[in-house]
Amino acid sequence: MRRTRVEVDKKKCVWCGGCVATCPFDALTLRETVLEVDERCTGCGICVRFCPMGALGEEA
C-alpha cells in the first residue's frame, strides 16, 4: 500500500529547518537548500501545519 507523503514546494521553502524538529518519525532532512522527505513519512500533517511559509502540502 502506498502511503500519502508530504510534498515540498521548493518555490516557497526558505530552508529554515523548523519542520524537521516537528516530525515525530524523523522523516525530514534538510540538506542546505534541499528539504528531503523519506519513506518514514506517514502523512500525519504535523509539519504541514507548522511550516511558516506554507511550503509543505499533502501529495496529490
Binding site: 516557497k12 526558505v14 530552508w15 529554515c16 529547518g17 523548523g18 519542520c19 524537521v20 524538529a21 516537528t22 516530525c23 515525530p24 524523523d26 532532512t29 534538510l30 540538506r31 542546505e32 504535523i46 504541514v48 501545519r49 507548522f50 511550516c51 511558516p52 511559509m53 506554507g54 511550503a55 509543505l56 502540502g57
Partner: protein, 395 residues
C-alpha cells in the same frame, strides 16, 4: 581520521564548545553543513548586555548593528509599556549582525586550534556494540567516516544527532513557535527600542517583534505557537506577519530585503542532555528561553560548559554518561532555574486574553520605566486592575 572531540554545527553553541575544548589542548573538529557559517540567519538578533558579559564576550562594533535603551511592549489596543534594558531581560541590549557574530565565534574557535570544515553534513553516527565510535559525514560530496570518542551535538533546532543516539528531540506543535521575519529597509521606527506586540490579535501564543538594525532598517518578525495555528491554513505565520505590516503604515512603507523562517523551541530543556560519548548543547538541547525565544546566550554558555567537560573527559579518557553528567549539572546550575521560571511565564502569557493584556498595559502605561521593578508592576496592577494580579500569583 581521528579527533578527540567532534562538534556538529557551527552556530553559537557549537563554536563556543569547540573553542573551549581546543583551548585546553584537545584535538577538535567543528563541522558545519552550510557553505557559509552564519548564513542564512535564523534570528531576530537581540541579546542582553548582561548575557554577553556572562559569556565573557566583549561587545565589538564589528557585529553590533544597534544598541538598545530598552523595550516597548504594545498591547492589543496599542497601549505602550516601556521597560529599561536591565528589566527587559536577555534579548534586549544589542541587536547583532549575526552573520558576522557567528563567524567571529567560529574564528575564535579556529584561533584556539579547532579544525573547521564547511559544506560538511553529518549524516549519522558510527556505532560499535551500541557505543558511539565516530560520525559519518558528507563533506563536499564525499562520504567519510571520522573516529572520535566524543560527539557534541550543536545541530540547532533540527537536533538529529541526539535522535540518532536514542534521545527523542522531536517537538510537539504546542512546544514550538513557527516564525517568519523580514529584514526591512525604509521603515520608521524608534532606533533605540525593541518593540514587542503582544496579544492574540497580533499572534496567537506568540508575538510580533520589531528590532531596529540601524538607520531605517529593522528585523520585523513573528512567532506563532504551533498548536494555535488553525488546521488547513498553510503559511499562517507569514500571512499574519504580512497583515501586521500592512496595518502599520510606518512599517508598510518599508521594503523587504530578506525573508527568513524558523522554529523556536518553547518548552523545557531535554530531560537527558548527555549519553555515553555524547553531549547536546544549544537549541538542539532546547536551551532556548521559552518566554522570549532567545537562545544565543544560553547556547554560548552551555556550549562553553560542554567544551570544558569534553576536554576533561579526553584527559581522563572517560566518556561515560556518568562522567559527562558534569556538563548537565553545570548548565542546570547556570541557567536551569531561569528556563524553569520562563516556562511558567510562558504558560501564563499564552493563556491571557487580549483584554487582560490591555488591562496590564493600561495599569503600567503611566509609569517611568526606571520605577518598574517586579514589585512596581504588582503595585501598579493592584491599583488599577487587581483582578489581573491572580494571573501573576502562579509565577
Amino acid at each position: 581520521m581521528r579527533y578527540d572531540v567532534v562538534v556538529v554545527g557551527a552556530g553559537p553553541a557549537g563554536s563556543s564548545a569547540a573553542r573551549e575544548a581546543a583551548l585546553k589542548g584537545t584535538k577538535v573538529l567543528l563541522l558545519e553543513k552550510r557553505q557559509e557559517i552564519g548564513s542564512p540567519v535564523r534570528c531576530a538578533e537581540g541579546v542582553g548586555k548582561a548575557g554577553l558579559e556572562k559569556c565573557e564576550i566583549k561587545p565589538d562594533p564589528k557585529w553590533i548593528a544597534c544598541e538598545m535603551k530598552g523595550a516597548k511592549l504594545h498591547s492589543p489596543n496599542d497601549a505602550v509599556v516601556e521597560l529599561s534594558e536591565s528589566l527587559a531581560g536577555n534579548e534586549v541590549g544589542y541587536v547583532l549582525e549575526r552573520k558576522i557574530f557567528d563567524r567571529e565565534l567560529a574564528a575564535m574557535a579556529a584561533e584556539a586550534g579547532a579544525e573547521i570544515t564547511v559544506k560538511s553534513m553529518v549524516t549519522g553516527l558510527i556505532k560499535k556494540d551500541g557505543k558511539i565510535k565516530g560520525i559519518r559525514v558528507l563533506s563536499n560530496g564525499e562520504e567519510i567516516g571520522i573516529e572520535t570518542d566524543l560527539v557534541i551535538a550543536a545541530d540547532g533546532v533540527e537536533s538529529k544527532v541526539a535522535r540518532w543516539a536514542g534521545i527523542d528531540t522531536s517537538l510537539k506543535l504546542k512546544d514550538m513557535e513557527s516564525c517568519a521575519q523580514y529584514l526591512m529597509a525604509g521603515v520608521e521606527c524608534e532606533p533605540d527600542y525593541t518593540h514587542f506586540y503582544i496579544g492574540s490579535c497580533y499572534s496567537p501564543g506568540g508575538y510580533v517583534w520589531v528590532f531596529p538594525k540601524g538607520g531605517t532598517k529593522a528585523n520585523v518578525g513573528i512567532g506563532v505557537l504551533g498548536s494555535r495555528i488553525p488546521k488547513g491554513s498553510p503559511g499562517f505565520a507569514k500571512r499574519l506577519l504580512d497583515q501586521f505590516i500592512e496595518k502599520h503604515s510606518h512599517y508598510a512603507k518599508g521594503k523587504r530585503l530578506e525573508l527568513i523562517g524558523g522554529g523556536v523551541p518553547v518548552t523545557s530543556p531535554l530531560e537527558r542532555s548527555v549519553a555515553d560519548n555524547l553531549m547536546v548543547v544549544g537549541d538542539a538541547a532546547r536551551h532556548t528561553d521559552p518566554a522570549t525565544g532567545g537562545g544565543i546566550i544560553n547556547g554560548i554558555r552551555g556550549g562553553r560548559l560542554a567544551g570544558k567537560v569534553g576536554a576533561e573527559a579526553v584527559e581522563e579518557q572517560n566518556f561515560s554518561q556518568v562522567f559527562l553528567s558534569k556538563y548537565e549539572r553545570a548548565w542546570k546550575e547556570a541557567f536551569g532555574d531561569s528556563l524553569e521560571r520562563s516556562l511558567l511565564v510562558k504558560d501564563v502569557l499564552i493563556n491571557l486574553d487580549d483584554p487582560s493584556f490591555d488591562g496590564i498595559a493600561d495599569s503600567l502605561a503611566g509609569y517611568g520605566f526606571e520605577e518598574l521593578g517586579l514589585l512596581g508592576i504588582i503595585d501598579a496592577l493592584q491599583e488599577k486592575h487587581p483582578e489581573l494580579l491572580e494571573v501573576f500569583e502562579s509565577i
